[in-house]
């Protein structure tokens, strides 16, 4: 019996959310007296070592150039891996791939799924109790998974990454995908990554700005603050809709939902739809010239005043702090 974890390599490294899932799987393995097996495609020696250090006992190492092209293929490969490992619990990150693969696999295995877990599970007999956010972050529900096989996907940035001296046994794993008819052909891929910036869903610090910035030409100072903090930039919906900033930066209910350690919102009023995408942030700082802006009610720290004078001052304060740290 084992806890199976789906891990991914992205841009040459093991995804942070994958390392979080291994940590979570180790907890479940401890609860249920089993071990952790990680599934990974196209990992090199140092990436396999990193997965081991995070706590996996065993790694099913797949080498396939087509697997990642279609969630149907990943799901089929995992179904075989789950069978080979007699996996009773399967863990994913609740990210783009996890959202596409975990439900499909769960349906195939008739396994109960909790999508977007935010806390470690409680084992209750043969059932797992798992907490997740519901009503767009307004409440938490405790789910009970009643099926024999259980699937859980984890909200990114909700669990720590641990790295120790553990070494995993690596097994080559060659799933038989001959019976799976993928009908998806990738024609084109476009990157929206800015060099050196951590992708929004994984970012621990986010500097976000809204209409209060008055126009796209004023974003240099926002970027400067983000750079000083090592943060990723984001924006509110109107800003993306007016094409001041690219659509992928839009956080909120219709955009990306994020959960950084620190979210700094500048010139964003704090409409409920925006809050729905950011209210899981650990600490929220709001900078707004309107002291009545609703966002202050959902913030930990607030500064009332003109963004154009506050941002450069804050950037300086951050730089000074960072310089003293070194």
């Amino acid at each position: 019996m084992s806890v199976l974890v789906y891990t991914e390599i992205n841009k040459g490294r093991v995804k942070k959310s994958s390392l979080e899932t291994i940590n979570y799987a180790v907890k479940i393995a401890e609860l249920s007296g089993s071990t952790v097996t990680a599934f990974v495609n196209n990992a090199d020696a140092s990436q396999l070592e990193e997965i081991g250090k995070a706590g996996a006992s065993k790694i099913l190492s797949v080498k396939s150039d087509v697997l990642n092209n279609d969630n149907m293929l990943i799901s089929a490969a995992l179904e075989q891996a789950a069978k080979a490992e007699s996996a009773k619990v399967i863990i994913f990150a609740f990210d783009i791939v996890g959202k596409a693969v975990a439900p499909r696999l769960a349906a195939k295995l008739k396994a109960g799924l909790v999508a977007g877990a935010v806390d470690y599970p409680v084992l209750n007999g043969n059932h797992l109790e798992v907490k997740k956010n519901v009503f767009s972050g307004k409440a938490t529900a405790t789910y009970v998974i009643n099926s024999d096989v259980k699937v859980i996907s984890l909200l990114p940035n909700s669990f720590p990454v641990k790295s120790g001296e553990n070494k995993a046994t690596v097994s080559e794993f060659a799933p038989d995908l001959s019976s799976v008819k993928s009908r998806i052909t990738i024609k084109e891929t476009k990157s929206n990554q800015v060099g050196g910036m951590i992708p929004l869903p994984e970012a621990e610090t986010v500097v976000s700005a809204g209409r209060g910035m008055k126009g796209p030409e004023n974003w240099a100072m926002v970027e400067e603050l983000a750079k000083a903090l090592g943060a990723t930039t984001a924006c509110s919906r109107p800003v993306a809709d007016m094409h001041w900033r690219p659509h992928h930066e839009h956080v909120g209910q219709t955009g990306v939902a994020i959960r950084p350690n620190l979210y700094i919102a500048i010139g964003i009023s704090g409409a409920i739809q925006h809050l729905a995408g950011v209210n899981g942030s650990k600490t929220i700082v709001v900078i707004n010239n309107d002291k009545e802006a609703p966002f202050f009610k959902s913030a930990d720290y607030g500064v009332v005043g003109d963004a154009f004078s506050i941002i450069p001052k804050l950037t300086e304060a951050v730089k000074k702090f960072k310089a003293n740290q070194n």
């Binding site: 109960g112 767009s136 009643n146 998806i184 610090t205 992928h248 009610k297 500064v303 702090f321």
Partner: protein
């Protein structure tokens, strides 16, 4: 070309959430229910646009829920859907809903099954991929553009760190995100026509839920916002370091 659009009946975004029965049930009292925004703005409106462009003959709504959700289904009619199926059962969990929809779609044959990227009540983002799993169909998630030509869909969708354009032979299940279409307001003619469009009610077919909800708790909002003056930003940075421990 037949399109099936799955819609969920959810509390309006601005609803003040409350629970009842010892925090084990969502309190419906006084709550305004709407079509889940992603199902409506993106999935349904794009389906209607495809029909208007003569690329589809019929747009059918499917919903798993009790009779009290019929007002929500009629809103879908007012926007322009041709007919609807309500599977008469309380929606228990994502798998239950997906299997009901999958069973109906298997019997009735659809070329395209569209869902929203997630519901705003349970936020699981699961039903679309589960329907694809139940029917063994391809699934394209977080689609921001969808074009049809012959037996092929061309879809732009979000991937880690970017977007991609894929082609897929039909039938396919697609989850729809921002960019697919724009929200529409039903017109008077649509609202009048909604009353007489066919809404078929069929019983649930044998599947069981695999998960249940034991209890709910409201997430405590932030109680106090510490205000810092513009001349004191060093203090803000210091608080973020020593108190919040986030930098």
């Amino acid at each position: 070309m037949k399109i099936l659009v799955a819609i969920s009946n959810v509390p309006d975004t601005t609803t003040k959430i409350q629970f009842t029965d010892g925090d084990t049930k969502f309190n419906n009292a006084g709550v305004t229910f709407v079509i889940n925004p992603y199902d409506e703005w993106y999935a349904l409106v794009r389906a209607l646009e495809l029909k208007e462009a003569n690329l589809a003959e019929k747009v059918t709504l499917i919903h798993v829920g009790l009779a009290d959700s019929e007002a929500t289904i009629r809103k879908g009619f007012a926007l322009g859907a041709d007919d609807a199926v309500r599977i008469d059962a309380e929606s228990q969990d994502a798998f239950f809903v997906a299997e009901q929809i999958g069973n109906y779609a298997r019997t009735n044959g659809y070329d395209l099954i569209l869902v929203g990227k997630e519901t705003i009540n349970y936020n699981g983002s699961s039903v679309g991929a589960m329907i694809a799993g139940v029917l063994d169909l391809p699934f394209i998630s977080l689609a921001t553009k969808l074009e049809l030509a012959g037996n092929k869909a061309t879809v732009e969708n979000e991937i880690d760190g970017g977007t991609q354009v894929v082609e897929c032979e039909l039938p396919v299940v697609i989850s729809c995100a921002k960019g697919m279409a724009e929200q529409r307001i039903p017109n008077m003619r649509g609202i009048m026509a909604a009353r007489s469009k066919p809404l078929q009610v069929i019983p649930a077919s044998g599947s069981t839920a695999l998960t249940s909800i034991k209890s709910y708790t409201l997430n405590a909002g932030r109680t106090t916002c510490k205000m810092i003056t513009e001349d004191n930003l060093d203090e803000l940075v210091s608080l973020l370091h020593t108190e919040a421990k986030v930098i």
